[in-house]
Symmetry: D2
């Protein structure tokens, strides 16, 4: 590729989170620093690439964005390969012309490679595009921290910060009113956020998708606390938490039951179960979108900057089809094909599960 | 009262909020500094006084509480005069023996006066107790800032801080995804919190209980923004906001309709109205208990400390039956009887309403 | 002025502080909302007006700046009338042609009025420019809160927030190591910031320019605390604090002594005095520029927005030569000529001084 | 040890930092959860053990301390082995009877083991005490992150948070006034804090003890920025940074020169060098004690809790003479003897150095 400027496309896909702009800046600054290169910012994730909406990013666009939440490029949840982009299995027809549009626009924009920032769905799409002949580099972004192939993704520690601060706030009210305060956090398939924030916030009960919970175990724990004179409790619930009874159902039936449930979300159901079993007053907070927003935590700025710089290095070496990653404390990379379609859940016996139990946290299972 | 120690009871009543402990500390430090005095902390608001649960507070109890959220005394929503404590009108029988218990415990604890920290209901009860022969001093606490007789109550500015920070966070997601983000804040009867946080957070639409809103006006505003290239908006909704159509109903019918509504709360209804009228994607965040918790803002620590010290001054002068208050920038006091049963709403033409409109905020009415 | 667009110049002068951008946005949005108007942003305060550096501000420039610290226009400490701008007394020659340049550029830019955001020096210059025939409106900005004619200026509450948080941090170290922690805050002539943050942060000693301090009084206070088992203390010092001994000197001699002092600033001297008098270990933190920076507090965003909107109202009415102001809780305005050359100090017997003493704070004088 | 309660002493030594209380709570909760055990809190670090000052910690002492900065036990910089505790080399006589006192009090308190929370000096002393026959477990605490044998110590990420937020604040002023803002951070021997906060805060120049700096290289970098239209810069300086010229001197001579320097600290010298070389205005902020205080960051609460729980595990297994540690993302332990007397510096070619250079940060050396 010597002799002419590289053209590097960049897009952000999926739900927004803190650190996207820091990563864009990292990639762009490290790339521009390599000499002849051009950064093409693609609007609104894969949708913008399908529609050919893009503009060149200059130094002025990068100024002041390190600390800015969200994404200056815009994002969308577009999955150009249809449901395949989601679970890598079905092969729906409806999306099949979108990849062709993407390839055409990739050529039209004169791109030498495409850097995609996103989570599971995004990286799965990235692997498919690489397989179709594009040169793609992935950067791991997710609040849920459930992306395979990396120990941590940017966005996660910012969300842990927001969630922990929220739990801290609830402590005031819980202790003043002798109440059970239930807080529902993000995490459909993996409970990393609830586990981290639950320990950091001193949650008394932490319910995770990975460990089906027994309402009786929770009630027993809260009663023991009451017997020790602790008149309030904090219960942290991942949105993907499920009861033992539910865990024995198949996916379809579970969905049917949830749809018929009188509760707007799992947190409300857990609160009702606790009220019924213990007679205590329980109140619910659903943290929702607040977990995605705001200034990135220092850790995420560092991580996004480092991963962005590492992506530039892969580009320089022409080492495409890979996602940059942090593994065992070191920055490296992993093949997109290996990442695609997988979810990183909390493994049995993970040291934070052990630590949580040791300091007396109830994980709903005993 | 010379010649012996004054005994001063203190209780916190109603929902907890930041600044209660700062006010307890202010009253106690200023009182203890007057020389011979004894502070009796009553547990869990009026309920603790009914049940005779109290303990003396020493310097050690006051250490480190200036910055502590919630209340070290505990709180309850007990209204010893039954519904009278709420709206000062009905005269239900069921609560009539509670005041007798309160008076008996007041004497049994040897109190010379009772300092009550709370909002509308609390001060109304305080006025009734004063009328029954107790010596009572009120301190104005409320997140809603709707307490009559004072320009501001502690707790309010802390809640404004939490709400504004939440709006700031939603901006990231709104702008990244070209969405309408609706945030529902506390404020059943008065919209101070939504108005303050709405202006401070740069809300594009702010809906208040005082100004019935027209869904068409909101939709028009959002369409004009879209026409100007502003693809996202923030809508701040007080929980007591109501539509023009609702405002024409009587209270009973309105309640009936709300109960039959498919929406968990007003924020969800507003989001649905916006989606229907504009086709935009709208998402809802209900801030809930987060508005009550956490470290008090500096302003609330100052206010609570100053009002606490002013309460000690009223006690020294034997000037009972009054609530300390901030009026026109100066600390003074107002008769509890004048405060009781009233709500301070945002008056027509208030300068913040004017300012909000001037900078282009839609208040739902045009 | 009907029939053509008003041209409104705006500049920010003096030290930067949070809220400047919120005020620029408030003035501009409210002005642009009036219909035909043009906002001309002048670079780097009066210096930019002298040099004719300016550009029109459009809606895009105003987007996202409500929460942005500093000033998008840039600022300088230029005093076009020489020292007159500072203390309104001397009549130095060197600066005399600058006002002529300002008037020429005002005409060249086709301005109908000039809105200046700044503190004492800035408003004094504004009054002089008004006297020279320009149409000027002032907006009160200062961290020190020492501007005459308004109860509060934007920037102040943000600085109180930063300073209070810093004091909170020092508490950890003070209590862990049984130390005296001295923190030096801004405030040369007036001690508002030290007083507010001192009370809000629970300072044990607060030293202000308005109350000359006696080192023996401080030592006595700390010894009494030690006798009560309180092994650590927080001492808050305004940079303009001075000792009783110094207060008896004239200004010149005081300055000479300070210059000869071995201490980098007053905080270090107070720490040394405490160590010598009590034998305790004292450590110093100078908060410095941190007091000026960062995201504006919600209160400052509200105040800046409201004052900005009020300025637009004065412009609409052609009511020039005035500074918008908050007085007794209400927004109004005051003649620039009345503001010029004055300093608002904490008056004797101010209610916060009374409150501070009542809760046991030592103000250095007894 | 079956058949009777274990007695576990715990102390915090060296400078305080966020996370100490979380670690105390982690050790105690996990230990108490093991069944029969007794936690003995020793006051003021090794000094309290020398003087025999200790008290048993119950569940009430552990309540609410997870989020509390500083240490509820108190801390001191006492080095019972004299300078040996510092650099593990000299064998001063003056301290030799203190270890005997420690051993006597260890027996008198009936301790089965001693858990020490601290940094380099603390762990070195711990290794010596283990060698003298006590059973000791170390927990890694340091703001500087320079402790050998662990990838990260608690306290570090909280300090990174404080420092990054401070840099964010300085950006406002730097950009508003076209200035160079110099911020001096902790880190005498290792520059981890300056490196992390420097990247996270977007510092333009970052000076570390590990990389001697060339004033000409800094000036060149700032001039290039100016040429690109960037009129302000942020310079992050570790307190142990030194110039190329200094790096060629021996330790003694360097100390002599520093003592004779007119600058209160390195940050001021760097600012003066920049002003002289570039003509720009440079301002200095020394962050100092603010880096030690306040509520621990979520990461530090997690880390301290996990390490505390892991310490309880070592105790249960009777595996003494070790420091718990995080290595390669996993919690384990390392022999105290291996940790003692070493410093963990940033190694040449560390990936964050590489990342910093790639995004254009000047590290002072080229």
């Amino acid at each position: 590729m010597a002799g002419r400027a590289l053209s590097i496309g960049i897009l952000t896909s999926g739900g927004d989170c803190p650190g996207l702009n820091a990563a864009i800046r990292g990639v762009a600054k490290a790339t521009l620093g390599m000499g002849e290169a051009r950064i093409v910012g693609i609007a609104d994730g894969y949708r913008g690439l399908i529609e050919g909406r893009a503009r060149e990013l200059g130094p002025r666009d990068l100024s002041g964005i390190l600390t800015l939440g969200g994404t200056i490029l815009g994002a969308s949840r577009e999955k150009p390969f249809g449901e395949r982009g989601g679970d890598f299995k079905t092969d729906a027809d409806e999306g099949m012309d979108k990849p062709e549009l993407i390839k055409a626009n990739y050529r039209k924009l004169g791109l030498d490679c495409l850097v995609v920032l996103g989570g599971n769905g995004t990286q799965t799409t990235a692997a498919l595009l690489q397989a179709e002949g594009l040169e793609v580099i992935g950067l791991p972004k997710t609040i849920d921290n459930d992306l395979w192939g990396t120990d941590v993704s940017f966005g996660f520690h910012s969300a842990v910060g927001v969630a922990t601060e929220a739990i801290d706030r609830l402590h005031s009210t819980a202790s003043s009113h002798n109440r059970v305060m239930v807080i529902e956090l993000m995490g459909h398939k993996a409970g990393w956020l609830a586990l981290y924030a639950g320990i950091a916030g001193g949650g008394d009960v932490v319910l995770l998708p990975e460990i089906p919970y027994d309402p009786a175990a929770i009630a027993g724990h809260l009663r023991r606390r009451a017997a020790e004179g602790k008149s309030f409790s904090i219960v942290v619930v991942a949105e993907g938490a499920l009861s033992l009874a539910e865990s024995r159902l198949d996916k379809k039936e579970r969905r049917r039951l949830r749809a018929a449930s009188p509760f707007p979300s799992i947190g409300y159901r857990v609160a009702a179960e606790i009220e019924e079993a213990t007679g205590a007053e329980a109140r619910v907070t659903v943290l929702g979108y607040l977990q995605r927003g705001g200034v990135p935590a220092p850790y995420d700025r560092l991580l996004a900057t480092s991963l962005g710089a590492a992506a530039a290095d892969l580009i320089r070496r022409g080492d495409f089809g890979r996602m940059v990653a942090l593994r065992g404390g070191t920055i490296g990379s992993v093949a997109l094909a290996e990442v695609a379609g997988k979810t990183r859940k909390i493994p049995d016996g993970h040291e934070l599960l052990v630590a949580a139990r040791r300091v007396g946290t109830c994980l709903g299972d005993a």
